[in-house]
């Protein structure tokens, strides 16, 4: 790609960001949306989060991890324990990352 083509690609990507994020916000008139779908949307944010988190925790390069010797598992266990103890997201991040870095850098997992 030339620099010009790359710039066009990037501008197109930015337009795609607006278009997808504002998609159902843009029409002036209400689109006919069934009530059950509107109701079911309350499960969408949680599902999207889970869908990103689960593979990041239990998979490596598209395969389920086959060992307990993986720093992510104790990191997630400690972060989860912290969350249910204190209900704070910042502490969840810090405690889990501390375990991960200790195991990776200290023990070479």
């Amino acid at each position: 790609m030339t620099a010009g083509e790359t710039a066009v690609t990037i501008i197109g990507l930015a337009l795609l960001t607006v278009l997808t994020r504002a998609f159902f916000l843009l029409p002036e008139r209400d689109l006919p949306m069934p009530a059950w779908l509107q109701q079911g949307l309350r499960y969408a944010p949680l599902a999207a989060l889970v869908a990103v988190v689960a593979p990041e925790v239990v998979m490596t390069q598209g395969q389920l991890i086959g060992t307990w010797h993986d720093a992510r598992l104790p990191a997630v266990a400690v972060a989860s324990a912290y969350y249910f103890w204190r209900r704070g997201i910042l502490g969840t991040i810090v405690s889990g990352t501390a375990v991960l870095l200790t195991l990776k850098l200290g023990w070479g997992w």
Partner: protein, 247 residues
């Protein structure tokens, strides 16, 4: 609370703006770690510096950027890059349907602007705060408080990552901080048995469908969770919500 449209006070002076900013700041560290790594990835993909900065600043969608980078580096046709980003962004189309009951009454350009700035976590945190799908005056300042916080927490580390790519160790697994932020947020959304079951189904679906290209496993997981959630809602008719039927 002053009436809508009669307040000359700037949006950021509204107390709801501060609340929106505060509630987003809980996950800001995770967003920052993730932004930093995305910036590093952009610089290391061989994108020239000005274009990398432009991409971070205007595309403003981490997953789509990460999916597009290897294609652009490999000289794929432009439409392939765009089609890939479109698929990765499909979840935003689903979210935009969720925004509609809150913001449909606003002017077109404002809706467009708000749409552009809403990242995943803005949606998640806003919907946790305002569970009833109807407009309220403090929603717009709350929204912008979260958006400004998210934008800074993402863009500043992303730009730092582009500029300092060679000095940031990626082998430490710092990107996992972003996953842990999502983990905490995820737990905060599990409210009852229906959401717990929907989350369990979504996790299985996301792992099982992981081999699908273009992160479509996320769309599959959302569809599965919505279906299961609705099934549970209909089997256990707990409370009828009259506000769903009005308007």
């Amino acid at each position: 609370m002053s009436l809508l449209g009669t307040t000359p006070a700037p949006l950021w002076r509204h107390p709801a703006f501060a609340r929106g900013a505060r509630e987003m700041s809980g996950v800001a560290l995770g967003i920052a770690a993730w932004g930093l790594l995305t910036g590093v990835a952009m610089a290391k993909s061989g994108l020239p510096l000005p274009l990398a900065l432009l991409m971070s600043l205007i595309v403003f969608a981490g997953s789509a950027q990460l999916a597009a980078l290897p294609l652009m580096a490999g000289g794929a046709p432009i439409w392939v890059v765009w089609a890939t980003a479109l698929c990765v962004n499909l979840r935003f189309v689903i979210f935009s349907a969720g925004w509609r009951p809150y913001f449909a009454h606003l002017p077109f350009w404002q809706r467009l602007r708000m749409g552009y700035f809403t990242a995943d976590l803005n949606y998640v945190i806003f919907m946790r705060r305002f569970t009833e799908p109807r407009p309220e005056p403090e929603q717009v300042p709350y929204f912008w408080g979260g958006v400004v916080t998210n934008w800074c927490a993402w863009q500043l580390p992303s730009l730092a990552g582009i500029l300092l790519a060679d000095r940031i160790p990626t082998s430490w697994g710092l990107g996992f901080a972003g996953t842990l932020a999502l983990l905490g947020l995820m737990y905060s959304l599990v409210a009852d048995r229906a959401t717990l079951v929907a989350a369990a189904v979504a996790s299985c679906a996301a792992v099982a469908a992981y081999a699908l290209p273009l992160k479509l496993n996320i769309v599959v997981a959302i569809a599965a969770a919505v279906a299961v959630g609705l099934l549970i809602d209909h089997q256990t008719p707990r409370r009828v919500q009259p506000e769903d039927d009005l308007t």
